[in-house]
């Protein structure tokens, strides 16, 4: 199995894993079924986009037979729709429908980040080594992820000084992260 195929397979497995993780156990409240369907659609669409990324499109699309034209339209749709973004929103939506379970949610967050990184590697054809400069930032992100999970655990432990401190740290971390990202959002 070649490296691009391995990375594509990893992206597909991570996407499927995220959907299963967020969906289990199945809930039937609200629009859970719709969210599950959208999550599956998003992951499948993203994987198909990665698989068919190398299929060439003819320069001349004039007077093509109908099946070929339909195939080209399918490819165009596949390449235009932001499948992964849709899948991420649907998975987060699925997860929030469950009652609070901080550590599984943190695990889902780590899996989602891994899914997005694997998808990026697969679509750009880059080796995993290009992510080496991001290792420190990802480590800090993992710490914040754990902090967020810890903050989520606190209501179960009951109100107290420690609970308030951890909530404060989590809030500050979020505010700092949001403050850092705002200029970038403005530029984008």
């Amino acid at each position: 199995m070649t490296r691009p195929a391995t990375i594509r397979a990893a992206a597909a497995l991570l996407g499927a894993g995220c959907v299963v993780w967020a969906a289990a156990p199945l809930v039937h409240t609200g629009l859970a079924n719709l969210a599950l369907a959208l999550a599956i659609l998003g992951v499948v669409g993203g994987v198909l986009r990665l698989l068919l990324a190398g299929v060439p499109v003819p320069e001349e699309t004039f007077l093509l037979p109908t099946p070929l034209r339909a195939w080209l339209r399918f490819l165009e749709t596949l390449r235009l729709v932001p499948w992964e973004e849709g899948a991420v929103i649907a998975i987060v939506w699925l997860e929030v429908m469950h009652s609070s379970r901080p550590w599984p949610t943190a695990g889902l967050g780590a899996a989602l980040i891994a899914y997005l990184l694997a998808t990026h590697l697969a679509e750009s054809g880059a080796s995993p080594g290009v992510l080496r400069p991001q290792a420190r930032v990802l480590a800090v992100g993992a710490v914040l992820l754990a902090l967020g999970a810890g903050a989520g655990m606190l209501p179960a432990a009951g109100p107290g000084a420690g609970s308030a401190l951890l909530r404060l740290i989590a809030a500050i971390a979020l505010i700092v992260a949001a403050g850092l990202v705002l200029p970038y959002v403005g530029k984008a």
Partner: protein
């Protein structure tokens, strides 16, 4: 964006050019932003801090990549390994980028029409090489090049699309080793054995010694038998003028093996074969009644001049010798069509005016040989009328060829696959008789 063309139109003489980049956030950045905002929104609305934790890594990555410096311009160097290539020949193009800093570079080659990539069409790194081969003759755009620069956080992408320079693709010459030689050759030193005596190396006969003969040419066995000194005689070695007449009026058949493809390949093969035999070779390109020409010349470079002239005529431009394209056949200068020249015609014989031109040339005393390059039939539907029409068409074609043979113009058929030596074998084994028209039609006209 494209490379400014140099005088030769390839951009080879201008090694590097600066290009502006269009930077935008990558799909990866948009996905991270989606995850961060969605998780923050859920954390705020549902009051569940663990979702804020999900947002944290994504937002941190985006914040870290925010201060990355992005180069606004880069310099590209493009070096094709050749400006000209024959059909099917491998050509490489070396690409190098400068000014990209720490950013990674990804190259994607989108080959142009009639360009076959050999190997990968995508590569990474500041220096890459793509290999390709042109499929069919003509001036071919190598293609377009997509260059994508990614910063070290993979959050922003700089895009650049460049049109690569054009490549002149020559028709691949067919195989031809033998030459058709005329009986009457001009008095010019060459490699063909003439019918007259001379200082060549081909033995011609024995005659009696006369004072002034070279002593080394004495044939001692013959002298001993006859009792008088006998000397060997040799044939003179002469060259001839050959004019390749290419009919580019009708391009019928499958692209790649059409009548024009075969005509150009056959003419290129003829040019190479006759120039190898030290003949002077020129070309006349006929196109809907008007002609372009290149006067006969010698040497290896003449092959390329001839092919350039044929391709220039095909584009409707002036030939390399400055020949005025659009002149009629009757106004051709004497230098372009020398008297006594062998005229080798490559044509599908579909244009009636061209056939009349051939008859006219024959009546003016030119020795001609027609290579018929028609290998396609008109398409027919399964109807009796269509089949009948095709039969009539075939009979007309046979009649045209018969009439030319009657005029003393040999017509051979070439399928473009086999060597040209095979159809020409009848005429390469012995000299082609030079002379005025000897056909009944010609004499009546």
């Amino acid at each position: 964006m494209s490379f400014p063309s140099g005088p030769n139109g390839t951009g080879l003489d201008a090694p590097e050019f600066g290009f502006s980049l269009r930077w935008r956030s990558s799909r990866h950045a948009r996905r991270l932003l989606t995850l961060g905002l969605a998780a923050l929104f859920v954390a705020t609305v549902a009051r569940r801090p663990e979702f804020a934790g999900i947002a944290a890594p994504a937002l941190l990555l985006l914040a870290a990549g925010r201060s990355q410096r992005r180069p606004p311009r880069v310099t590209l160097r493009v070096r094709p390994s050749a400006r000209r290539a024959f059909e099917g020949e491998l050509v490489a193009i070396d690409l190098e980028i400068d000014g990209q800093g720490d950013d990674s570079v990804q190259w994607t080659l989108h080959p142009g029409r009639e360009i076959d990539p050999v190997g990968a069409t995508a590569a990474d790194g500041p220096q890459v090489r793509f290999t390709f081969s042109p499929r069919r003759w003509g001036r071919r755009q190598i293609g377009t090049l997509d260059v994508v620069l990614r910063d070290r956080w993979r959050l922003a992408e700089g895009h650049l699309t460049v049109d690569l320079p054009a490549l002149d693709c020559y028709p691949a010459p067919a195989q031809q080793r033998t030459q058709v030689v005329l009986t009457r050759l001009p008095n010019r030193l060459g490699e063909h054995a003439a019918r007259t005596f001379g200082e060549g190396i081909e033995f011609s006969g024995v005659r009696e010694y006369v004072p002034g003969d070279r002593q080394r040419s004495i044939n001692w066995p013959a002298s001993t038998r006859r009792g008088r000194l006998q000397v060997n005689t040799f044939t003179a070695e002469r060259s001839q003028d050959v004019v390749l007449l290419v009919d580019s009026t009708s391009d019928v058949g499958e692209p790649g093996s059409s009548a024009l493809d075969l005509a150009l390949r056959g003419a290129a093969a003829g040019a190479r074969a006759y120039l190898d035999a030290r003949d002077r070779v020129g070309v006349i390109t006929y196109h809907w009644g008007s002609v372009g020409w290149l006067v006969p010349g010698l040497g290896r470079r003449q092959v390329y001049r001839i092919i350039d002239a044929m391709l220039a005529s095909e584009r409707g431009a002036a030939g390399p010798s400055g020949s005025a394209y659009g002149t009629s056949m009757r106004r051709l200068p004497r230098a372009a069509l020398p008297p006594g020249a062998l005229v080798v015609v490559f044509s599908p014989l579909l244009d009636q005016r061209f056939i009349e031109t051939l008859r006219d040339m024959r009546e003016r005393g030119f020795t001609m040989l027609v290579v018929d390059v028609l290998n396609a039939d008109p398409p027919v539907r399964p109807r009796s009328a269509d089949r009948m029409a095709r039969r009539i068409w075939r009979m007309e074609q046979e009649a045209i060829r018969f009439s030319l043979r009657e005029l003393g113009v040999p017509v051979v058929h070439w399928d473009g696959v086999q060597s040209l030596d095979l159809p020409l074998a009848r005429y390469t084994r012995r000299p082609l008789v030079t002379g005025a028209s000897r056909g009944s039609w010609g004499s009546r006209r």
